[in-house]
Symmetry: D2
Subunit: 436 residues, 4 copies
Amino acid sequence: MTKKYKIAVIGGGSSYTPELIDGFIKKAPELPVSDIYLEDIEQGKEKLEIVGALAERMVKKAGLDINIHLTLNQEEAISGADFVVSQFRVGGLDARIRDEKIPLKYGVIGQETTGPGGFAKALRTIPVIMNICKDIQRLAPSAWLINFTNPSGIITETVLNHTKVKAVGLCNVPVNMINYVAQVFEVEMERVYIEFAGLNHLVWGQKIYLDGEDVTEKLLDILITGKNFTMKNIPDLIWDKDLIKSLGMLPCPYHRYYYMSDKMLEEEIKEASSEGTRGEVVKNIEKELFKLYKNPSLDIKPPELEKRGGALYSYAACNLIDSIANNKKDIQTVNVRNNGTILDLPEDVAIETNCIIGKNGASPLTVGHVPAKIRGLMQAVKAYEQLTVEAGVKGDYYTALQALTIHPLVPSADVAKKILDDILRQNKEFLPQFQG
Amino acid sequence: MTKKYKIAVIGGGSSYTPELIDGFIKKAPELPVSDIYLEDIEQGKEKLEIVGALAERMVKKAGLDINIHLTLNQEEAISGADFVVSQFRVGGLDARIRDEKIPLKYGVIGQETTGPGGFAKALRTIPVIMNICKDIQRLAPSAWLINFTNPSGIITETVLNHTKVKAVGLCNVPVNMINYVAQVFEVEMERVYIEFAGLNHLVWGQKIYLDGEDVTEKLLDILITGKNFTMKNIPDLIWDKDLIKSLGMLPCPYHRYYYMSDKMLEEEIKEASSEGTRGEVVKNIEKELFKLYKNPSLDIKPPELEKRGGALYSYAACNLIDSIANNKKDIQTVNVRNNGTILDLPEDVAIETNCIIGKNGASPLTVGHVPAKIRGLMQAVKAYEQLTVEAGVKGDYYTALQALTIHPLVPSADVAKKILDDILRQNKEFLPQFQG
Amino acid sequence: MTKKYKIAVIGGGSSYTPELIDGFIKKAPELPVSDIYLEDIEQGKEKLEIVGALAERMVKKAGLDINIHLTLNQEEAISGADFVVSQFRVGGLDARIRDEKIPLKYGVIGQETTGPGGFAKALRTIPVIMNICKDIQRLAPSAWLINFTNPSGIITETVLNHTKVKAVGLCNVPVNMINYVAQVFEVEMERVYIEFAGLNHLVWGQKIYLDGEDVTEKLLDILITGKNFTMKNIPDLIWDKDLIKSLGMLPCPYHRYYYMSDKMLEEEIKEASSEGTRGEVVKNIEKELFKLYKNPSLDIKPPELEKRGGALYSYAACNLIDSIANNKKDIQTVNVRNNGTILDLPEDVAIETNCIIGKNGASPLTVGHVPAKIRGLMQAVKAYEQLTVEAGVKGDYYTALQALTIHPLVPSADVAKKILDDILRQNKEFLPQFQG
Amino acid sequence: MTKKYKIAVIGGGSSYTPELIDGFIKKAPELPVSDIYLEDIEQGKEKLEIVGALAERMVKKAGLDINIHLTLNQEEAISGADFVVSQFRVGGLDARIRDEKIPLKYGVIGQETTGPGGFAKALRTIPVIMNICKDIQRLAPSAWLINFTNPSGIITETVLNHTKVKAVGLCNVPVNMINYVAQVFEVEMERVYIEFAGLNHLVWGQKIYLDGEDVTEKLLDILITGKNFTMKNIPDLIWDKDLIKSLGMLPCPYHRYYYMSDKMLEEEIKEASSEGTRGEVVKNIEKELFKLYKNPSLDIKPPELEKRGGALYSYAACNLIDSIANNKKDIQTVNVRNNGTILDLPEDVAIETNCIIGKNGASPLTVGHVPAKIRGLMQAVKAYEQLTVEAGVKGDYYTALQALTIHPLVPSADVAKKILDDILRQNKEFLPQFQG
């Protein structure tokens, strides 16, 4: 008899959940799942029930024998799980909106995962993920943690260096970059291969291949003619032609925050004062989504979910789980311990890179040195990330201040301190590690 | 009979020359010099003659048997020299003023050595230093090049990686930091030892010792009470208390451009619109200095020279030459090939660090890894420097664009391009490598 | 229309060739080959014709449309080839026999690829492979060199560092280790995965997996009960129980030369004085094989070939070519540039390790640091290999002497010198680089 | 009032002690010592009293105010000490003689510090040094441990990685190499500088300078003409001319065990069967020495002590203590944490290299990469040393077996096991860590 898997979804009440359920339904033939525990906290109960009911209808419609469990009990969800998927958001969208607005007050980019916004999110998330890991070690020691909670690289690094949990960090950016290339060349995604190197939300496609042929130049020539791509949550600014020519690589959508900081900031300020920050927009989308979800005749993932962002999230997550479960040894782009893969970064940090995925997790392909033009930024952001992990784990004010001070998007120690103090004040209830 | 040395000074007509002559006079008992060749270009002839006459009076007054030669012939100056001191400035102060003003037009810090200003200076200087090195290899192959021309780290890296000349890069910042500590504790400089690590104009004092006792904390406590120090050319902004506390090290004066970019920019803008940029101020100081120098009764280094900046320059330069000539094996802080000294930087780059100085040049003391809080910035700036060297040697537009784009003080590729194009246009006559 | 491939086999008259032809026949459905050029030198003409005729019969019997070409013209063979397979042996078996006997004279292990024997073989091979690469660069610049000529690691490193040819080094040891594990557990080879790390003929299986489960301990427990395996050319000495327990890894058969040098030497001396060295034994086997090959009714790979050694050679070679040609992205164990894969070895050396194989060649999986117990030996042998490459390319006596002196199997510089002088004398005609 | 120092000498009853006392007497003007505690164990009481009385007579004769204390109480000796000098020998000369004889039984070099003999000595010493360090941490936390106990590199690495004691490892080999060069050129030692790199008893002089001029070639030309040098305890075999030519560096005397293992083994066997092993010879020398020491009219270091070996030991030890105490910042060759100094070795191992010595201990000069010809052996021996430290600390049989197996002088795992078992049996009383 084949093994059937128990999946625990932390943050199960998320609007993304139907996407994830849809993924498991599609993978059902090769990835047999017996139980999915959707877990959330007390405040998320209502959303959990709505989304949970939809999940049940979806599974039923698919004719599958998967038990959907709804619970507010983390231990129950995790106990004996084979995979723990983390997609929670500490403080919800309100916290995200604050993360976006605080930096803007000081003339700094306010973004969910990049810059001071991501920093605040990391500080809130670290104590929660540490607690989840404690439960995994105790109640499901052989489980794999599939971390999708942002900032995914920082959270994965925290887990890898501060717990014994087996973890892989996931992000939908690389898979969307592959998808973009596939669309440009009008081919299946399977025929595209990108030599990625970098960090989460700071990953470069060093070389692009179509059926094994190097098409980097060809792709970049198309990119600069305006056939653009981005993520739902990032303003879709056109890439500068000379920047791309001089870079000679495919940047990720988030690189706009670094390569065109000034315009992105302008854009953000403009948006904040019109339709609202991205968080505010998402809050409205979510409201609409949950209205849809409530509809008892809805039994598939609604197409409207796409507006929410997170495209291909379930594709990435289910592929990852499938390859671990079935020891597939295929190549996927995930967040893992560097271990010398990129020689220009410390050995014990998380990087986002191409890995072989199998029963033992993710094994990266050697990258070696990266060229100076991407090395400096990668190293600067990684130093920030390491300090953020340390600050988040220890609750140390000075380490937090250094983290923000050296972030490339923060203009000075003075501004760093103002933002930090504001973050600490506005997130007090979520930052136990700083209260003492 | 003891060996007597021939010194060639490239850029001999500089207003700094009396400082250097004063240094050789003081060192005379241990460092016997027979000939000093002050070399300059046609446009500097008048200044060369003024400063050369003063140099002759100084030597005479000191009762020393040193022959001062004035020449516009680089080959004559270099031929057979034991030490070649480079202190030239391509394009003179007018070029410097342009370097300061171009970035300011685009809202970016305009500074002689840091940021786009230093970048422009590097591009102008690289073809000239390469030419000097060609002459040294041919006419004085065993000579030591003592490079003081800024940006000293970038120029030294160019020489180390693209010529066979034996070179040491020099800067007066470390010795001024030692002097500052000595003044704080009211002791002789010899009793102070600083564990330096970093790059030229981006060097941190990781630990400060007085008579071998660690006084880092004590010093920083004094630093934050306002007993400040800076270089003549850097606005003397007070360090933020929490920044220093969280850093736990002694920053160099130039760190202000990174740690307080916003305020420094404000300050620059204010100054530019009142007394003028630093270059403009210096231009006036120089005029006054040369008036003084002309006075035939002046036969010592005039105290007014101090305003010019470059404090302790001759102290540093003459100590370095003395220790090489006399195989002294003492510790000085200079720019050398990294070679693994700082494990977080490539092996073939120039770093500024503590070295043993002897007949075979500068041999660095192992540093190992540096902490994340200073690592990221150091790495980012080094990547910029490497690209600048490459752009300067090859004259490659795209490499130059990447260099500026990734500089931490430049907000976007767009602004980088505007500044770059402006630099290339305004410096056309000095950038033969880009005219191909 | 699908692309059909041209294969050039350098050393085409080898007794292994039917093995290789058999491989291409089996792979025919997915790897369409139009032409196989079997190339050899004048002295090998007779063998080439025998083996070539057999190859033609084999292809015919298989009903395939592959043209077999026999040639003594290297340029003709290489020109326009897609894959160049190198399996030549400079000096033939007579040279091998000398390689085995010279060291034995001085009380040192005499082996085809390991120790002074392999060193001599490397010196003979390097000028020839350099010449082949010159032709590839000129006549088939996009061809892949599949190097099977021993010592495969050293030859691959020579090609990678001293030519621009795209090369992958191949050895049948890893695939035989996988096969051994598969036999022990009575499963298909595909279900076995070994985390290899090391050098050619010095590769350790750090961890062994069956269907993704770690079975290292289980396997080693079986290994020490005597269920042994080895290569045809290596005396089948039983592994010491405590050695294996303390090692905790699967050694390769060649490790016996290091872990049981004394017994292996004894065994060699005994064999040399009875049935002859392995080379002498092989010489007889080859005679018998070629008798068989001549039989015009033979049209398949004869089972007697197995005695010759080289088990699974064509399996490995054809899999490699198939995965490159078809961009398969599967994992195979080959010799590639280290590039930081094993952090304890220089970046520019050849290592034997698990790689993803595709159209762009072999891309290694990150290994990181290896434990001290295998690190020292790996590093010592690699240093020997690097010096051997240098000596072989430059023909430098002193470098050659250092290479042999530091080889772990050579007891002293004095013995190294005696062996080296004997090698140089007896191989004079094959060592043009030393005749300067 | 100047600080006066308390020195604790662990193994104070050693025949070397008069050498050390002589050193302190000579250094008295700059290094004021108030108290020297000579500590030894119960079995060494008689020798301690003899040597202690001589020490008192020496001090008195010198007219110095140093109190000599004799004690069997380690805590008393260490408490409040400024420097703890460790020169003890666990098991005394009888253990050493066993260390020499056990390997010889199995055809392997038997030497006090190199190979299995040094391995046995390390295992015996590690528990004792750990215990001393425990006392230092408790009773003299700011004391410097000056370790002279052999194998000095392994013991220093143990202390650096497994305790918090500030330690510098010392050996008289480098200073004797300098002395040898000085004698060859008939100059003062101060004029000679050697760029050392390597491990304790495996240190190469990569370059030799006289007054800053590179005289390496000149020196090696003299070395190969037979003007040899060695340590008292190492057979004085002449270096092979071609070995030295190909090496191009100055080997240390102990390199003979690696570069001429066969002859050294012969020599040892010959000596063992005639005058006895070196340990046996030393035992007789010591008897004679102690007879001399007893003579109440002896009040200086007797010239006969020179035969004992350990030349320049007190010179090295007192210079080291002097430079630490007086923050001299001069260059000495000692054993310290690598920290990237030699890029080809792990960061956390002990190396023997040139360091700046001051109040904060030893700060190494960057070495970078070493050439392949010395790298492999250095790395192989270092791997052995790391395993020895681990085996010695943990008492793990398998780690010990791997340590001996990979030692370049041990021919096989089988022989390693025989030697190991013999060592463990014959040293049972001294190896508490293996009795678990």
